[in-house]
C-alpha cells in the first residue's frame, strides 16, 4: 500500500512538473502586491517559488512599457500569476489553476 501510495505520489509529482514544463518559455503575467504588472517568458521556477522571466517588460500606465530584460520575481512579490493564452486554448488551460 505504501509503495502504491508512493508511486501515485510520484506520478502526481511528475504530472504537475510536466504541466509546468509544458508552459516553459510561454509568456506569463505577474501582478505584485503594489499593483505592478510584469510580463515575460517563463524560464525557471525553483523550490522556493521564485520565478525567472526573460524578455520582461513592465506595463506603465499611459506610457511605453519599460523593458527590464531578465527579472527574478520572488515569492512575496507574486500576488497573481497568469499564463498568456490564445482564445482557442483558454478552455484547455483552465485545468492549470
Amino acid at each position: 500500500m505504501g509503495a502504491t501510495h508512493d508511486q501515485q505520489a510520484h506520478t502526481s509529482e511528475s504530472s504537475n512538473i510536466a504541466q509546468l514544463k509544458s508552459i516553459l518559455q510561454r509568456f506569463i503575467r505577474v501582478t505584485n502586491p503594489q499593483g505592478r504588472i510584469i510580463t515575460g517568458e517563463l524560464l525557471c521556477v525553483d523550490k522556493q517559488g521564485n520565478l525567472v522571466l526573460g524578455k520582461a517588460q513592465e506595463e506603465v500606465p499611459k506610457a511605453e512599457p519599460r523593458q527590464m530584460g531578465m527579472v527574478l520575481v520572488p515569492m512575496h512579490q507574486q500576488k497573481n500569476v497568469e499564463l498568456q493564452v490564445a482564445l482557442g486554448e483558454k478552455l484547455e488551460h483552465l485545468s492549470l489553476q
Partner: protein
C-alpha cells in the same frame, strides 16, 4: 501534451497587447510544483543559465529595482494637481527654478541620471506650457535642453567618457536618442530676446525685484554663452575655437554675477549663520552634536541636501523612475549649490585650457598640451572637448560629425540671415567672435560647399603632424611603402595614446599598459621601414646623418638604431614611465616598493634621454626636405669658364628643423633631470631603510624577486622588446 506543445509554438514568443491576449491563472499550479519539487531542484528551459540569471533584476529589491520607490503618478497627473504652476510664478520663484536647473545640470555632469536631475523638473518635461505665461523661464528651459543635447553630443563624440563618468541614457525623455542629434543654435535668438526682456523689466522695477530680474538676465546670458561655447568647440575649426574662447570668457564673468545673486548660496550662508548662533546659545547641545560620528553628520547633510534639491516648484524626485533603464539604478546624488557652482567654474576653466590646443604646432607641443591637460584631472565634459578637438581620422565619427555640424550651422546661418538678428549685444570684444562661431567661418567668407573642402586644423592628430614628428615626408610613397605603413600605424598608436591620457585616472593607467602592445607592434613596423631600400635611399637623398646597418643583425644591434625604431623606443619608454608614475597618484604601491618603482622610472627616463640624443645626432630635416635643395646656384666663371659650379656653403637648417633639434635637446635635458631625481629618491628610500624608518616588509607568500616580476610584468611581455626590460638582478 504534444497538442499543447504544438499550440504553444504557435502562441508563444511575443507580448500580446490589448484584446488579443487572454490570461489563465496558474498560481495553483505553481504552488503544487513548489511542494512537489525536491529541495535544491528547479524546473527550467534547456537554454537557461544560472550564471546569466545572477544578473537578473530582482523585483521589489530597492537596490536593483528603480520603480520601487516614490509614487506612480504620471506627469499629467502631477501637473493637474498643481505641482508645476505656470500662472502667477513670481520672479523670485523663476530665479530659484533657473538656479535649481543649473545645479541639476552640474549633478548630471558628475554622474547622476538626466531623468533624475534636469528632467525631474516638470517644466523641462513640458516647456511649451511656459511659452505664454513665463517666457523668461520658457527660454531658459529651451536653452537647458539645447545645452544638454550639445553636451551629450560632445561627450559621445569625445570618446573618453566611461559609464562611471556620465550617464547618457535619454530614453523616454524629450531628447532624441539615436542617431545622436546635432547641437543647434535655434535657442540662441530665444535666449537673446528673453535677456532683453529681463533687462527691460529690471529697469522698470524697483529693488529688490530689480535685482532678481538682473540675476535672471545673468542666468540667461550665461546659458547663451555656454551653449555658444559648446557650438564653437563642436565645429572643430580655428574660427570655432576662437569663438568658443570668447564665449567661455564671457560665461565665466556671467557665472560670477549669477553666484553673486544666488538664492541658494544666500540661504546656505543664512543656515550656517543660524547654526552658528544656535551653537553659541547652547554649548551643551553642541558638545553632544560633536559626539556624533562624522559619517552620520555627512549622511544627515546629504539627506537634507537631497530633500532641499527638490523643494523648488516643479521638481518631483521620482517622476521618471520608469525611465531609468533596466540596469541597476544609481542613487541620484544632487550636488549642493556651492559644489555645483565650484564645478561649473572649474569646468569653464578646463574648457578654456582645452582651447589652448589652437596654439599647438607640431607633435611635441601637442604631447605637452595633452600631458598638461591630463594633469588637471578635469571633468568628463572638458576631457571630451579636449579629445574631440585633437581626434583625427582614426576617430572617423568625430571628423564626420564635425563636418555635419559645420554644414548644419552654416545652413542655419544662411536661413537666419534674412531675419532680424537680435543677437548683437554691445560687447565689442565678443560679438564678432560670437557671429564667427555661429557661422563657423573664421574669415567670414563662404563657399558653396565649404564643409567638405575645409582641411582639419593643424593640431589634429593625423598624418601631417606625425610625419613632422618622425621627419618623414607627408606625401605617400616618397620614403617607400614600409615607411608609409609605419606612418599610418603611428597615427593610430598616437591617437590611442592621446585617448588613454584623457580618460579618467583609474582607466588611464590601465589603458597605457594595454597600449604597450600597440607600441610593440609599431616597433616591428619601424624596423622594417628602417631596413627598407626605399627608406634608406630617402635618408641619403635628404642627407640624414645616419649610417644604415648592413643587415638585419646590425639593425637589431643597439649601436645601429634606426631613426624610426629609435623614435618608437622613445615613445614606448615615455608611456611606460607614465604608467609607473600614475601608480603613485592612485596609491597602488606600498612604501617598500617605492625604491624599485623609482629605480625603474630612472631607467626608462634614461632610455628617453639616450634616444632623444640619438635622434638629435641624426639631424633629420623636418618634412624630409633635402639640404641640397638649399644650396646656392652656380656662379659664372671669371676667365671664360662657363657655368663652373660654385662650392655650396654649409647648409643652414630651416626653422622647423631647428625647432625640432632644439626640442630634442630640451627633451634630453628634461629627462636627465627627472632621471636624476628618481635616483635621488631611490637613495633616500635606501637610506630610510638602513635607518630603520621604513622596515623591510614581511613577505609571506612571495619573494622580493617575485614581487618585482609581478610589478613590471607588462614590460616583459613579448612582443615588446624595446626598451629592453630590466630584470631583478640588475
Amino acid at each position: 501534451m504534444e497538442d499543447r506543445i504544438g499550440v504553444s509554438k504557435v502562441v508563444g514568443g511575443s507580448h500580446m497587447q490589448g484584446g488579443g491576449a487572454s490570461y489563465v491563472p496558474i498560481t495553483g499550479l505553481l504552488e503544487r510544483v513548489r511542494q512537489d519539487l525536491p529541495l535544491g531542484e528547479m524546473v527550467h528551459t534547456d537554454t537557461f543559465s544560472l550564471f546569466e540569471a545572477m544578473s537578473a533584476v530582482e523585483l521589489g529589491n530597492v537596490k536593483m529595482d528603480a520603480a520601487m520607490s516614490g509614487s506612480c503618478k504620471s506627469v499629467e497627473e502631477l501637473i493637474q494637481e498643481g505641482a508645476a504652476p505656470v500662472e502667477g510664478l513670481t520672479p523670485a520663484q523663476t530665479l530659484l527654478i533657473m538656479e535649481r536647473l543649473l545645479v541639476m545640470e552640474a549633478s548630471w555632469h558628475n554622474g547622476a541620471a538626466l531623468a533624475q536631475t534636469v528632467f525631474a523638473s516638470l517644466y523641462m518635461l513640458r516647456p511649451d506650457r511656459l511659452r505664454d505665461n513665463s517666457p523668461l523661464l520658457h527660454a531658459y528651459c529651451e536653452g537647458v535642453k539645447a545645452t544638454c543635447i550639445a553636451v551629450r553630443w560632445l561627450v559621445m563624440h569625445g570618446a573618453v567618457a566611461e559609464e562611471e563618468d556620465i550617464n547618457c541614457w535619454v530614453q523616454g525623455l524629450p531628447i532624441p536618442d539615436m542617431p545622436v542629434p546635432l547641437p543647434d543654435a535655434r535657442c540662441l535668438p530665444l535666449l537673446d530676446q528673453a535677456t532683453q526682456s529681463a533687462k527691460g523689466l529690471a529697469k522698470g522695477a524697483t529693488a529688490p525685484e530689480a535685482d532678481v530680474y538682473k540675476a535672471i538676465a545673468a542666468h540667461l546670458e550665461f546659458r547663451r554663452d555656454l551653449h555658444g561655447a559648446l557650438l564653437g568647440l563642436g565645429l572643430k575649426s580655428e574660427g570655432g575655437v576662437v569663438g568658443a574662447v570668447a564665449h567661455l570668457t564671457s560665461a565665466q564673468a556671467r557665472l560670477q554675477q549669477v553666484m553673486g545673486a544666488s538664492p541658494g548660496l544666500q540661504q546656505q550662508q543664512r543656515s550656517i549663520a543660524d547654526s552658528q548662533n544656535g551653537k553659541d546659545a547652547s554649548g551643551a547641545a553642541s558638545t553632544q552634536k560633536e559626539g556624533q560620528g562624522c559619517e552620520a553628520k555627512q549622511q544627515q547633510r546629504q539627506q537634507q541636501r537631497q530633500e532641499s534639491a527638490f523643494d523648488a516648484p516643479g521638481f518631483v524626485e521620482n517622476v521618471n523612475k520608469y525611465l531609468l533603464g533596466p540596469a541597476p539604478p544609481r542613487a541620484a546624488v544632487v550636488m549642493s549649490t556651492e559644489a555645483a557652482y565650484a564645478y561649473l567654474k572649474s569646468m569653464l576653466g578646463h574648457l578654456q585650457q582645452a582651447t589652448d590646443v589652437m596654439h599647438v604646432r607640431g607633435y611635441r607641443a601637442l604631447v605637452q598640451h595633452i600631458e598638461r591637460f591630463a594633469r588637471l584631472r578635469a571633468g568628463v565634459v572638458a576631457r571630451s572637448a579636449a579629445h574631440y578637438l585633437i581626434a583625427g581620422k582614426a576617430w572617423g565619427p568625430a571628423m564626420a560629425s564635425a563636418t555635419a555640424l559645420r554644414q548644419a550651422t552654416e545652413a542655419e546661418g544662411a536661413a537666419a540671415s534674412g531675419t532680424p538678428n537680435n543677437s548683437s549685444q554691445p560687447t565689442p570684444d565678443n560679438s564678432k567672435h560670437r557671429d564667427q562661431a555661429a557661422s563657423g567661418d573664421k574669415d567670414g567668407s563662404s563657399s558653396a560647399n565649404p564643409a567638405q573642402d575645409v582641411p582639419p586644423p593643424p593640431w589634429v592628430l593625423d598624418r601631417p603632424i606625425m610625419s613632422e614628428a618622425c621627419a618623414l615626408p607627408e606625401a605617400p610613397g616618397a620614403a617607400g611603402p614600409e615607411a608609409d605603413l609605419f606612418l599610418d600605424q603611428i597615427v593610430i598608436a598616437s591617437s590611442n595614446w592621446a585617448q588613454s591620457m584623457l580618460l579618467n585616472s583609474c582607466r588611464q593607467r590601465r589603458r597605457l599598459r594595454r597600449g604597450l602592445d600597440d607600441w610593440a607592434n609599431i616597433y616591428q613596423h619601424a624596423l622594417n621601414a628602417d631596413m627598407s631600400e626605399e627608406f634608406v635611399a630617402f635618408t641619403k637623398r635628404a642627407q640624414w646623418a645616419w649610417t644604415p646597418p648592413k643587415d638585419e643583425v646590425e639593425a637589431m644591434n643597439e649601436f645601429y638604431p634606426g631613426p624610426l625604431s629609435t623614435w618608437v623606443e622613445c615613445q614606448t619608454a615615455a608611456s611606460e614611465a607614465l604608467h609607473l608614475l600614475l601608480g603613485f597618484e592612485l596609491d597602488l604601491y606600498q612604501p617598500s616598493e617605492y625604491a624599485m618603482v623609482y629605480w625603474y622610472c630612472s631607467v626608462l627616463l634614461g632610455v628617453q634621454r639616450i634616444t632623444s640624443q640619438v635622434m638629435h645626432s641624426y639631424r633629420c630635416p623636418a618634412g624630409g626636405a633635402s639640404k641640397a635643395s638649399m644650396a646656392l646656384p652656380a656662379k659664372p666663371g671669371k676667365k671664360g669658364n662657363k657655368g663652373r659650379a660654385a662650392t655650396p656653403p654649409s647648409p643652414l637648417p630651416d626653422a622647423s628643423t631647428a625647432r625640432r633639434q632644439a626640442g630634442l635637446i630640451m627633451d634630453a635635458v628634461r629627462t636627465e633631470l627627472l632621471s636624476s631625481m628618481c635616483l635621488g629618491l631611490v637613495r633616500l628610500q635606501l637610506a630610510l631603510k638602513v635607518a630603520g624608518i621604513v622596515p623591510d616588509p614581511i613577505l609571506t607568500f612571495n619573494s622580493q624577486r617575485e614581487r618585482f616580476d609581478q610589478r613590471f610584468a607588462a614590460f616583459h611581455t613579448p612582443p615588446l622588446v624595446r626598451p629592453e626590460p630590466m630584470g631583478y638582478g640588475e
